[in-house]
């Protein structure tokens, strides 16, 4: 869809001629003339203006009444006055009105000092009040949710939070209750406001009415510094601004970048910063002595690691994930390839793709951008659910559907959060996304035979595939396919990649505004691969002489004793890899496991022999690559945590430094003395990064596929569709066996596990099944059930969902316990174990409390404290 064109016009404001984009709202247009019109309710991110606060009244010649600047589009030749007595009177009146019921408790209010109401009162208010009547009173503060405290006396009823809930996150929970001067913001039935994006309302609130409970009473604006960086907790890589006081991160706010996050954050990104300052942080090197991990100095740890790696040589292996930066990945692969002559490197839990396919998928012409998700004519959501995989994309897709009438086409095994917004929904069997792509390819090439075969292999029908294709292609040529890296998991990964490239080719996704967008599993999955950390290719998809083993191969080889030393860079294979049982054996058999990790996880505690303390993202410098190819910079916001022994130099060190020191001990000198030098080496080694500088990346990032170097590196690529074979059909559910699919909940991460405020959201295992199956098995919602096959069992609470297709169950993976990474796709048996499983107030799927099971049971708006032990206290 073409982006709106900007037409510049000239209008007059306060006697000056100003150029501004036509139809921009006056409030925005005025800024082009350095005129500020005060606003409370206006926030362009929230969509259409509502004109509720009346703060932005201005005088326009030719219109008798004052007009709201937030809702009046500027036209050529318009004459606007913001400094007349009439306008001043109206502004003073609105401020006076807003303050009559406001407690004016600025000295104890967390917003004081960074409060729009305060600023506007000083700038435009009357200075005094004539109001002597008693003010409105509410019980306060209240827990609006485990994350947010609400002070209704401070609220100026600007509607921002309500509009966010209704029109942006579309969770439809916040409303205004009552009317007139009695209005107050609440969830409609008084249950806690729990949803994936609630924290944004804290940032939207123009007064201190909505305060994040993790920041309440922690600092005043003159105590704090802001530090811009990038959140590495999921592949969305939202731009964030960290609030730092005394070298501690106290708050995470959005650092608006329309190209990345549109100015929103999810609650994980906003509140899981607490993992930076918890007791679980590893702050010094550790080594296993007599079965226990004990602190050692860096020399000892590095020497031991160097020795283990040196001895292993080609029998070493490394896997990386999560917040690994491009530089760390690049240096570690150099160490492995150049010194150990070893290519056993992998960042893909599902295994690495052959080089031509990896390169083909990275073709700059095929890359869609994040804004394309909003402006495309149609988006195909292919077997992923952004709410769990990359939450901020979820908001972008909602925006596209709501404001630009985009066709959203969902083809997924598990019901997604976006189903209600979709034009078409196709449910295929778990693990058959490849078959679906083959069917789409066949439909596009009019191959009736393959279409029928592949569609039924996917557990769907030829007609359903054709309907989906119709909705995908009918609106226009700008089509984006959003898919997850999980598509390539398993032995048929390469065939799935072929099928995807075929479909992309036939849909002609090479144009601007169209393309593919992959959600990697690791936060920097794309960058790590492009830096060369892969079994099948070197930096910048360079061919390698002897490809190594990928993840599954590494696990098998370790378990069989063919490999001896494993380097884990910010990753936990027991949690994040499929085949948990194989990895359990692999880690037990490995002679030396080197863990480079920031938090003491179960895996580190049980299996690591040498532990390098890792940095949290707020302490890191380096670069990342966003799923759409945007190279972004991590900037160091705080220093490394102090080690227990308080000896200088004995604590956490930068990742690049650790790897560099390790290489030095093995006789390889990278010549890297600073993080930026590692970046320079990376930019020089990866052809399509050539010429990049950290300055150029700056605060907003640079999309490498849009750079000249990318064109030079990839050249003119053209690809002919290849013949595809129909993949094996999905397992068929029978009387006692159900298909099984897995999903990774948004909240399943080690950072959430250790963040005190997010404990309410920590997922537990659930077994999602359809009510029809539940009836057949005699299972009620919340019952404890067990699913399993061949002696591998997972227990969890039954969760009845109408949208789950009959004959299928879904279980969560990536949990700290009861992980389902034991299953591959297939069928499982289901058994009811008993009544309601252990209390799980919050459903991990979308983080909503089950109705009637709220951990608070607040009586409407009168709650002051939650019952003991159920949630963190207000003042904690």
């Amino acid at each position: 869809m073409p982006r709106p064109e900007i037409n510049w016009i000239t209008f007059s404001i306060d006697g000056r001629e100003v150029k501004a984009p036509e139809n921009a709202m006056l409030v925005d247009a005025a800024k082009y003339g350095d005129v500020e019109i005060p606003v409370f309710c206006y926030e362009p991110k929230l969509g259409q203006p509502v004109g509720a606060c009346r703060m932005c009244l201005v005088e326009i010649e030719g219109i008798p009444k004052l007009q709201t600047g937030c809702s009046t589009p500027v036209k050529d030749g318009m004459v606007v006055h913001t400094q007349t007595e009439r306008v001043h009177d109206a502004q003073r009146a609105v401020v006076e009105f807003l303050l009559i019921n406001h407690p004016l408790d600025c000295p104890v209010c967390d917003k004081g000092g960074e409060c729009p109401l305060q600023d506007i009162t000083y700038g435009w208010g009357p200075g005094t009040s004539r109001y002597i009547e008693p003010k409105r009173h509410f019980v306060k503060p209240l827990e609006l949710s485990p994350l947010i405290a609400i002070d209704r006396e401070r609220c100026i009823l600007c509607y921002r939070c309500v509009r966010f809930s209704q029109e942006i996150s579309e969770d439809y929970q916040l409303i205004l209750n009552e009317r007139g001067a009695h209005s107050f913001v609440a969830t409609f039935d008084g249950h806690p406001y729990v949803a994936p994006f609630t924290g944004n309302i804290v940032e939207l609130c123009p007064v201190g009415a909505l305060i994040s409970r993790s920041y309440r009473f922690r600092a005043r604006p003159w105590d704090i510094e802001g530090a811009g960086t990038v959140c590495t907790l999921c592949p969305s890589q939202c731009n964030v601004d960290l609030t730092v006081r005394d070298d501690r991160v106290l708050r995470v706010s959005a650092r608006d970048n329309d190209e990345v996050d549109d100015g929103w954050l999810c609650d994980k990104g906003r509140f899981a910063f607490q993992h930076i300052h918890v007791d679980e942080r590893i702050t010094e090197p550790l080594m296993r002595q007599d079965g226990k991990l004990v602190p050692v100095d860096w020399d000892t740890a590095l020497t031991a690691a160097a020795q283990a790696l040196g001895e292993a040589g080609p029998r070493a292996a490394a896997i990386a994930d999560g917040e690994t930066t491009n530089e760390e990945a690049f240096l570690l692969q150099r160490l492995f390839r150049e010194r150990l002559d070893c290519g056993n490197l992998s960042a893909r839990p599902g295994g690495d793709l052959p080089l031509p396919l990896a390169r083909g998928l990275a073709d700059p012409a095929l890359q869609a951008t994040v804004p394309d998700l909003e402006f495309a004519h149609a988006v195909l959501l292919l077997d992923c659910d952004p709410i769990d995989d990359a939450p901020i994309f979820d908001l972008r897709l909602r925006k596209g559907v709501r404001r630009r009438d985009m066709n959203l086409v969902v083809a997924s095994a598990r019901p997604t959060a976006l189903d209600a917004n979709a034009t078409t929904v196709l449910r295929h069997a778990p693990g058959t996304a490849e078959a679906l792509l083959v069917a789409l390819d066949a439909a596009l090439s009019d191959d009736r035979g393959n279409l029928g075969g592949a569609a039924s292999a996917a557990g769907s029908s030829a007609q359903a595939v054709q309907d989906l294709l119709e909705d995908l292609t009918s609106a226009g040529g700008d089509i984006v396919i959003l898919y997850s890296e999980r598509l390539f998991g398993g032995p048929r990964g390469p065939q799935a990649a072929e099928a995807l490239l075929n479909v992309a080719n036939r849909l002609n996704l090479t144009g601007e505004g169209a393309g593919l967008l992959e959600i990697p599993i690791g936060a920097n999955g794309r960058g790590v691969r492009e830096a060369g950390f892969a079994a099948t290719h070197g930096p910048g998809f360079a061919p390698v002489a002897n490809p190594g083993l990928a993840t599954h191969g590494i696990a098998e080889a370790l378990a069989e004793g063919q490999l001896s030393t494993l380097y884990l860079l910010h990753t936990d294979p027991l949690r994040h890899m499929s085949d948990g049982e194989l990895w359990e054996r692999a880690l037990s058999s490995a002679q030396t496991v080197i863990a480079h990790e920031s938090l003491m996880t179960e895996t580190v505690a049980t299996h690591a022999d040498i532990v390098f303390p890792g940095e949290a993202y707020a302490e890191k410098e380096g670069t990342l690559v966003h799923p759409d190819g945007r190279v972004q910079r991590l900037r160091r916001a705080i220093g490394h945590p102090t080690p227990f022994n308080r000896h200088p130099g004995s604590g956490v060190r930068a990742g690049w430094q650790v790897i560099s020191d390790l290489a030095k001990l093995l006789g390889l000198d990278f010549g890297v003395f600073a993080g930026s030098m590692a970046s320079q080496q990376l930019f020089a080694a990866v052809p399509f990064f050539n010429g990049l500088t950290l300055d150029e990346i700056g605060g907003r990032g640079v999309r490498w596929p849009a750079r000249e170097a990318a064109r030079l590196a990839f050249g003119e690529t053209s690809r002919e569709p290849v013949a595809l074979d129909v993949p094996p059909a999905a397992a068929v559910p029978s009387e006692d066996a159900l298909r099984v699919g897995t999903f990774r909940p948004l909240w399943s991460s080690k950072e959430v596990d250790v963040s005190p405020i997010l404990q309410y959201a920590r997922p537990t295992q659930v077994v999602e099944l359809s009510p029809v199956d539940a009836e057949r098995f005699g299972v009620a919602d919340g019952d404890k059930v067990e699913v399993g096959v061949n002696g591998t069992q997972v227990q969890g609470a039954a969760k009845l969902r109408h949208a789950v297709p009959e004959g299928t169950v879904f279980v969560a993976e990536g949990l700290s316990d009861a992980s389902s990474s034991l299953f591959n796709y297939g069928t499982v048996q289901l058994r009811r174990l008993g009544g309601s499983a252990e209390e799980s107030p919050i459903n991990p799927i979308i983080g909503m409390p089950a109705i009637g099971e709220s951990p608070f049971n607040p009586p409407r708006h009168e709650l002051r404290e939650s019952p003991p032990g159920t949630a963190p206290r207000m003042n904690e």
Partner: protein, 447 residues
Amino acid sequence: MSTLLFYDEIDKPGLASLSTYHDIGGYSMLRKALDMEPQAIIEQLLASNVRGRGGAGFAMGRKASFLPKGDMDKYLVCNADESEPGTFKDRELMQKNPHLLIEGMAIASYAIGASRAYIFIRGEYMHQADVLDAAIAEAREAGFLGDRVMGSDYSLELWVHRGAGAYICGEETALLDALEGKRGNPRLKPPFPAIEGLYQGPTLINNVETLMNVPHILRMGGEKFAEIGTSGSTGTKVVCVSGCVRRPGNYEVELGTPTRDIIYGLAGGPPEGRKIKCWFPGGSSAPVLPGTDEYMDLPFDFESIAEAGSMLGSAAIIIVDDSVPIVDVALKTAKFYRHESCGKCTPCREGTNWTVKMLERIENGQATPMDLDIMASVCDQILGNCLCVLGDAMAMPISSMIKHFREEFEEHIEMARERNGLGAAIPVMNRDERGPDRSAEYSAVGH
């Protein structure tokens, strides 16, 4: 004897039934309309210069002509949310002659090209809603509504939607929100409903009485209709007279009839021995006018009343005689608007609340004449600065009361202070002289 359009036969037995209505020539105008070009009907409406009877007095023909032409989902909505204090004309009209409204709506829908029409009726009008439902069922049965109206190519569905009791839903955009199933809050204008209204389609919204005029306009011809009344205010008007008069009720008069004839002639004037202190010419949101001869001689039409500093509004005349303290009138009025403010925009939400609190202070003898200035200033700050006109609807009458009856307010303040043992309203510098601290009583006023 002035022309009567509605009240000549309104008490005819069985008028609410289709057969009686049909016997007196009902639905013949719909037949006529269906044989006309839609544009020709709008021309007739324009020629008649009939102005909206709901309050704002906007010419109906012009409003209808704003709707875009062409094939799209358009809607006609009848605003039957008659909630303005003092107004009760639509109630009687709908109850006694529902088919006239249905016929008017069918003609108007045909004229603008709407195939769906709604009557948004005030929730408390339960009987009237039942009457309308029954009448619509009859009309549909007889082919005046539904598929292929009277055998033509035109189809129309008409529904009655019952409101839930909020005054604000009489505001056209709030009404649309409520009709869509949302909370009834006014929308930002523009876009006006004629361009983007119900379900974002072009929508014509008119009052019950306005739509009931449509068959008459078609019967008489627009130009002939325009001869009734004055040049700027054509037609007749049902006037609801209430308050301190001997014969309160609905009276249909030609617009331009002298006010005295309505208040003293038709309604019988104030009770024996009383004098009219002031009157609301058009419902409680119209500024009050004093009961002096100068104002009694005004012709009762849109222009004259506006020129006198008030508005015709819904033509609900409320008479206040000299036995009623003006402060009571002001407090009652302000309380109504505070209660009904939706709370969306600041000046109305806070201003109505503040005004009530100040008036309560006056009533309790805790005010000084200075508070009158503040109150006038607060009303001034509301006027014209709100999202919809509800704020203005309180500010206008209160300002007018202060303007016309300031002396009475001041007298009331002094007397109430004396009753309260507070002494004269002069500035008091220290607490002891200010009398007992009554702030504890106030805290009950808020929440």
